[in-house]
């Protein structure tokens, strides 16, 4: 495929979304799609301007992002630490891994009733759910990353006199990094998904609250808006991690290729 056909392909890809958007608007105006079912794109945009002006949007995005990132930081760091411990120490793995694999089968959103019992309905409960949701992808992929570091490289490091610390910092951690990033990107998806559900537990701010309130008051334009914002935030988080990945994994042929094309 030449560069020209590539560019054409990318252009044709935007055709469908634009077409859908236009159809949606036209059909809304003609009344084929009633406002009750789906508001027109222009109405959603009007809703966007409204909540933007009132300052609600910024505040709710701020609250939700804080929850998302704090939960990610807590669950992610525990998952990373346990992944490291179990990747580096056979004893630690023998003791804890079976248990963790058993807990992994529990869908974390099923725990909501128990989480309310244990953590109440405040931030604690929401953070716990997000943290639990992101814990497993990061734990599993950190462990996997360490376990699949090329043993030949480790033998090489030993032969050349590296001590445990140097071996970890110069061989094991960089080798596990691509897998850790896979886990992180998966965790981000779970993070937003969890928050959407967790913010319906009784919140008085946050995107989930905004969406819930809009649902209760039948403001479908705001409902659609909040969905779009979730999508945007998800995309942003993902793009950020991809950027980070590209920076940290410069050495990786996959990223050199991407950089070139």
């Amino acid at each position: 495929m030449t560069a020209g056909s590539n560019r054409f392909g990318a252009a044709i890809g935007w055709l469908l979304p634009i077409l859908i958007l236009l159809m949606w608007e036209v059909m809304s105006r003609l009344g084929v799609i009633t406002e009750n079912v789906l508001p027109a794109p222009t109405e959603v945009f009007a809703a966007f301007l409204r909540v933007l002006k009132s300052g609600d949007l910024a505040r709710n995005i701020g609250v939700s992002s804080w929850r998302a990132l704090t939960g990610l930081a807590i669950g992610g760091s525990i998952g990373f630490a346990l992944g490291l411990a179990n990747g580096l120490s056979l004893l630690s793995r023998n003791i804890t891994d079976t248990t963790l694999q058993m807990v992994r089968n529990v869908p974390h959103l099923a725990l909501i009733p128990l989480v309310i019992l244990w953590f109440g309905i405040d931030e604690g409960a929401k953070l716990f759910l997000v943290a639990l949701g992101v814990f497993f992808p990061i734990y599993v992929n950190t462990l996997l990353g360490i376990q699949t570091v090329d043993p030949q490289l480790i033998e090489m490091g030993r032969t050349y006199g590296m001590d445990r610390r140097a071996l970890f910092l110069r061989v094991i951690l960089p080798g596990a990094l691509p897998s850790i990033f896979v886990g992180l990107r998966y965790a981000l998806g779970i993070m937003w998904l969890t928050l959407i559900v967790a913010e319906t537990i009784s919140a008085s701010a946050g995107l989930g609250y905004m969406a819930m309130q809009a649902r209760e008051f039948l403001m479908i334009d705001v409902v659609v808006l909040s969905i779009l914002i979730y999508a945007l935030l998800g995309k942003l988080a993902d793009s950020f991690v991809r950027l980070l990945e590209r920076l940290c994994l410069q050495w990786h042929p996959a990223f050199q290729k991407t950089a070139r094309s």
Partner: protein, 258 residues
């Protein structure tokens, strides 16, 4: 087959002190005996090639030499080294470069514990030039060709100025033309630095062109110990080399039609 315990090489009339020697060394894995009662003494500065069929124990012998594995019986003695010099370095069959470290940092790995960061980097820079990779310091290993990677691995093994350099099929993965280039490089550096070289190879022509002495391993024993007293530089395809080659091939394949 009885072999002389210490051999004098034509190019070095006065016998040098031994760099290492194996005395009755055996190694078995489970019930399978891989090496049995190996006797081998290599003088300092000699270039020894070890050849043998797949699975005959060549890598095992090298790992024993480098101390990556312990013998089940017998003794291995090694000459002392000076401070700031590494004793034995292995160059593996694969380059085993760290993909996430730039070329110069990969070479500097060879000075772990022997020199500080800045010094290691400076020396790595110099050595890269020696192996014909001047100006490639900042590249990632992934953009190098197979032959260039092997040269980086060679530089890493050499930078610690080892007294003994053990090479486990270092050129096995290369195409024949690049391989010939690398053989020249290796021979030149060995002549300059004067370390003891132990080269494991599958390629009989390679062994003959590089080594002072070729050891054929078979069934865990030294089946042939052949001196190659030819002058250097040696030219590929030279009729004299062909004679030695045929002798070794005959040993390897018995006398089936080759």
């Amino acid at each position: 087959m009885a072999k002389p315990q210490l051999r004098s090489v034509e190019t070095a009339p006065a016998p040098a002190p031994p760099a290492f020697s194996f005395q009755g060394v055996s190694r078995r894995f489970g019930a399978k005996s891989v090496l049995s009662n190996i006797e081998l003494t290599v003088p300092q500065g000699e270039f020894v090639a070890i050849i043998g069929k797949s699975g005959c124990g060549k890598s095992t012998l090298l790992r024993l030499l480098a101390g990556l594995d312990q013998p089940d019986g017998g003794q291995i003695s090694r000459a002392q080294t000076q401070p700031g010099q590494s004793s034995i370095r292995i160059m593996f069959q694969e380059p085993r470069l760290l993909p996430w470290a730039r070329v110069v940092d990969n070479v500097a790995v060879g000075l772990t514990g022997l020199a500080g960061r800045a010094e290691a980097k400076a020396r790595a820079h110099d050595l890269l030039a020696q192996v014909g990779l001047a100006g490639r310091d900042g590249d990632w290993p992934s953009v190098l060709s197979g032959g260039q990677r092997q040269r980086v691995a060679l530089a890493r093994a050499l930078i610690g100025q080892p007294s003994v350099l053990a090479l486990d099929e270092p050129l096995g993965a290369l195409d024949a033309l690049t391989r010939i280039e690398m053989q020249h490089l290796l021979g030149r550096i060995w002549q300059t630095q004067g370390f003891t070289a132990v080269l494991v190879t599958h390629d009989v022509a390679e062994a003959v062109i590089l080594a002072d002495r070729v050891i054929v391993l078979d069934a865990g024993k030294v089946a042939l110990d052949l001196a190659i007293p030819l002058a250097r530089p040696r030219r590929h395809g030279h009729p004299d080399l062909a004679l030695y080659e045929q002798k070794i091939l005959a040993q390897l394949f018995g006398d089936e039609a080759i």
